[in-house]
């Protein structure tokens, strides 16, 4: 049962027939791991925290720099040099005392992933490098945990859901196999506008809430956003028989 305070606090989302009080209880009992607390991680954490997701683990080993402030909206001038996960947890706690925030003040590696991923219901990828994304993808497939991927640079964003609980679900590596040459661009080299991150992160938070409350989420679909021409495109994929990650799943 929700407390009367919770009933009031979350009333605008529990009044949705697909959420209801039951959905709110699911959110309260849920745990989520957010990998990366930068431009995507900030809004994802803020929305999941505000929505009352019971346990939110945030992993980031970076410290806040002045060049982050233009897009990492949880952080301000007085937070410079602090660890991102630590600082975010402090702010998120102030916004919602119902939720529990756990800080992992390191970059997620295989060992940390093996420890934390089995404990959560959904993993949200807000990392800024492809190695971490491939690692988390493979761990999520192994542990059959839904994985919400987001990425953005410049005016462009990509978002997809990997749901290894479904037999026919493609993984990130089905879409983008590991290659000889690493992708050329990232936020450091090509720049990024804050609102593009907000759009992709908003979609990631929405997909996460739907996964946690049992609403159907479309997987096997890459959503591509072009913020310059204001266009969305969807691309469909099926699980790849020769994918080294989901072959044995």
């Amino acid at each position: 049962m929700l407390t009367s305070n919770e009933q009031l606090r979350y009333s605008r989302q529990t009044m949705l027939k697909h959420i209801g009080e039951n959905g709110q209880l699911k959110l309260r009992n849920a745990s989520v791991l957010i990998v990366g607390m930068g431009g995507l991680g900030n809004p994802v954490a803020m929305y999941l925290n505000a929505a009352g997701v019971g346990r939110i683990m945030i992993a980031d080993g970076d410290n806040i720099e002045i060049t982050n402030l233009q897009r990492q909206v949880l952080f301000g001038e007085s937070d410079l040099t602090q660890n991102k996960a630590d600082c975010a947890a402090e702010k998120l706690n102030k916004n919602n005392s119902d939720t529990q925030i756990e800080v992992i003040d390191e970059m997620l590696d295989e060992e940390l992933g093996q420890f934390y991923i089995p404990q959560v219901d959904v993993v949200v990828d807000c990392s800024d490098n492809i190695e971490t994304r491939y690692l988390v993808n493979s761990l999520c497939v192994d542990h059959k945990k839904p994985f919400v991927v987001g990425a953005a640079t410049g005016f462009d964003g990509q978002q997809l859901v990997v749901d290894p609980r479904k037999d026919n679900a493609a993984c990130y590596q089905c879409f983008f196999p590991i290659s000889e040459k690493a992708p050329a661009n990232n936020c450091q080299t090509v720049g990024i506008l804050g609102p593009v991150l907000a759009i992709i992160a908003g979609l990631q938070a929405l997909q996460t809430i739907k996964l946690l409350t049992g609403i159907d989420v479309k997987y096997n679909q890459l959503n591509v956003y072009d913020g310059f021409y204001n266009q969305w495109q969807q691309f469909n994929i099926s699980k790849q028989v020769d994918c080294p990650i989901c072959q044995n799943n």
């Binding site: 462009d156 879409f175 196999p177 290659s179 000889e180 992708p183 890459l222 591509v224 969807q234 790849q240």
Partner: protein
């Protein structure tokens, strides 16, 4: 033959396809991507459906087809 690749019109050069009746995805990618790009991770969609790498050479194109070459975005 004219196809669209990432929204831009691409006229397929006839010498690439003169031996065959139709161009395939491998022909188009060879014309569109630099050799460096060809070694990078990318995904190809034909009329919004993803095509496996193993199917590129057997996927024949029709006039007016829309091809998207997508590179993974890295950044957050």
């Amino acid at each position: 033959m004219k196809v669209h690749i990432n929204g831009e019109a691409l006229i397929l050069q006839s010498n690439d396809i003169s031996k065959k009746s139709k161009a395939n995805l491998t022909d188009v990618l060879a014309q569109y991507l630099t050799s460096r790009q060809q070694k990078m991770s990318f995904a190809v969609a034909l009329n919004s459906d993803f095509v496996s790498k193993s199917q590129y050479s057997s996927t024949l194109l029709n006039d007016g087809d829309s091809i998207d070459v997508l590179f993974p975005i890295v950044g957050g």
